[in-house]
Structures are given as C-alpha cells and as structure tokens.
C-alpha cells in the first residue's frame, strides 16, 4: 500500500486541517482526504467511499466518536479499516471505551506529527 485514502472526523475544521497536515508530515502519502464534522456525516461518506484510515474525535455534536466507531462494524466500506481516536479526553476510561468500541489506537491532544506517525504507521504497514 503506497498511498492512503483517509477520513478525518472532527467538529473543528481547524483541527481537521491540523490532523491532515500531521498525517502528511508523518510521511504518510494521502491520495485523498474525506472530512466530516460528526459521526453521522462520516457514515454518509463511508456509504459511498472506501478509505484505508479513519482519524476521529470523540466529543462531537449529532453523533460522537464512540457511537460512530460502534456503528462501523455494520459498514461494508469500513471493514478492517483502522480507526484512531484523537481527543482531549485522555482518561484511562475514555481510552478503554474507545478501544472497546473498536478503535485501534488513541492520540491525546495536544499532539505532534511524531505522535501520529507512531500510532498510525504500524496499523497501515506502509514504509515511510
């Protein structure tokens, strides 16, 4: 896998741009980036598009990140796709909740491109 289609889910447009920039700075080649402001918008995108990586906030309006991750098991285009949660909620119980819901990794804000690389690259199995 050389290039990656990613879905970034966050209610802040600024944070979505920062996440995309950090992913690129981490050396991951993004062929396309889909953006959603909440879990419901993300599910609508996944109904019509395949991605290889999902980066998702937890606290969002309409549908939060935990509910979104739980619903992914029934989404054909999301089967086997790694989900990384990126959030300010850094408590142990939030991490457990996210991983139990199906997330494969967890990044606490504030973060750097190095944090993103350490969490994402092992899941993508790409050379960067």
């Amino acid at each position: 896998m050389n290039s990656v289609r990613a879905l970034i889910v966050d209610d802040s447009s600024v944070m979505r741009k920062i996440v995309e920039r950090c992913v690129r700075q981490a050396g991951i080649d993004l062929s396309s980036v889909f953006q959603a402001g909440n879990g419901a918008e993300a599910l609508a995108i996944l109904a019509e598009n395949k991605v290889e990586l999902i980066l998702c906030d937890i606290n969002m309006p309409v549908m939060d990140g935990l509910e979104f991750v739980k619903k992914l098991s029934s989404v054909e285009n999301a089967k086997g796709v790694p989900v990384i949660m990126i959030t300010t909620e850094g408590s142990e119980s939030h991490v457990v909740q996210a991983l139990s819901a199906g997330a494969r990794g967890y990044i606490r804000k504030p973060f750097t491109a190095e944090h993103v690389r350490d969490s994402v690259v092992p899941l993508l199995r790409v050379k960067v």
Binding site: S12, S13, V14, N59, T88, E89, E92
Partner: protein, 162 residues
C-alpha cells in the same frame, strides 16, 4: 510530563498546586500545536484583549477555563496552527481559539489525579469584542496565568466554582 497531585479545592492549595500545572498545560499546547515557546511578561501591557475563548468544566471540578488575547494574537495563533498567512484565516480564528482553550482544559485536567473521568468539558464558546461583563452565579476563585505570545499578552484563567 504528567504530574499527579491529589485533587484539592481550597483556594490557597489550588493556587499552589494547580497554578504551575495550568502554566505547564498552556506551554505544552503552544509548543506542540503552534510550535512556539511562550515567554514571561516583564511588566503590564496596555494592549486590548478583545477575544476570549471559554470551555466549561463540570463534575468533580466545576468552573470555566478561558483564554484571553487580542484579535491580532488570535489571528497569529490560527496562522501558526494552520500554516497559512493572516489573510487566509478568516472565521477560523474563532475555531482555532476554541480548540486551543479546549486543549488547555483537557491537558490540565489530565494532569490531575481523578479528574480525567470525573470532569467533563463543554463545547468551546468564543466571544469577540471588549465591551461585555462576565458574571458567575456561584462562588468562584480563579487561577490565572499571564504569558506572552509573540510578545503580546495572553491571559489564561481557570475560574473554579466552589
């Protein structure tokens, strides 16, 4: 760095214990997300601080975290976060300010034992302009950190409801 003192709510201990943690939380957010080091002010400033971002805390710790600065500083913070020029920032300045405040609040509570699970954060609110007053309906005391961002003052305040 992740210091883990016990939760203490009285005013003096909060200032002694949480004051340094609040400053550390602020500095970490600016260094990691904006790539800049904040400096200590050498004296008072007459610069108008006309934008404030606020995040509410509820649970074991109730209060309001706020970041107060000038529009010029807010725009510059957004530029640093997004990697764009000032004329490209527009309405995303408020979004950026809200996110900065949110990250400071989250970073701060994650440094205090027991608060991570027992304290929830609200969605950020951002107010622009300086002709307003802010009142709390409960008793409060405040922790305040004053620093310089690119030579301009920023004030980070945690109002704690008791």
């Amino acid at each position: 760095m992740n210091t883990r003192p016990e939760v203490r709510r009285d005013e003096q201990s909060a200032q002694e214990t949480w004051g340094p943690l609040l400053e550390l939380s602020v500095r970490e957010v600016f260094e990691l997300m904006l790539g800049c080091t904040l400096t200590a002010p050498e004296g008072p400033s007459d610069e108008t601080l006309d934008i404030i971002a606020m995040v509410g805390l509820a649970g074991q710790l109730c209060g309001v975290m706020s970041v107060h600065c000038s529009t010029k500083s807010g725009t510059s913070m957004a530029c640093n976060m997004l990697g764009v020029e000032a004329d490209q920032v527009g309405s995303e300045m408020c979004d950026a300010m809200g996110e900065i405040c949110n990250m400071i609040a989250g970073n701060f509570k994650n440094k205090i034992a027991g608060l991570g699970d027992g304290c929830l954060l609200s969605v950020p609110t951002v107010i622009t302009g300086s002709d307003y007053s802010l009142r709390s309906l409960t008793n409060t005391h405040a922790l305040e950190v004053r620093l310089l961002f690119e030579g301009s003052p920023i004030v980070i305040t945690l109002q704690i409801h008791t």
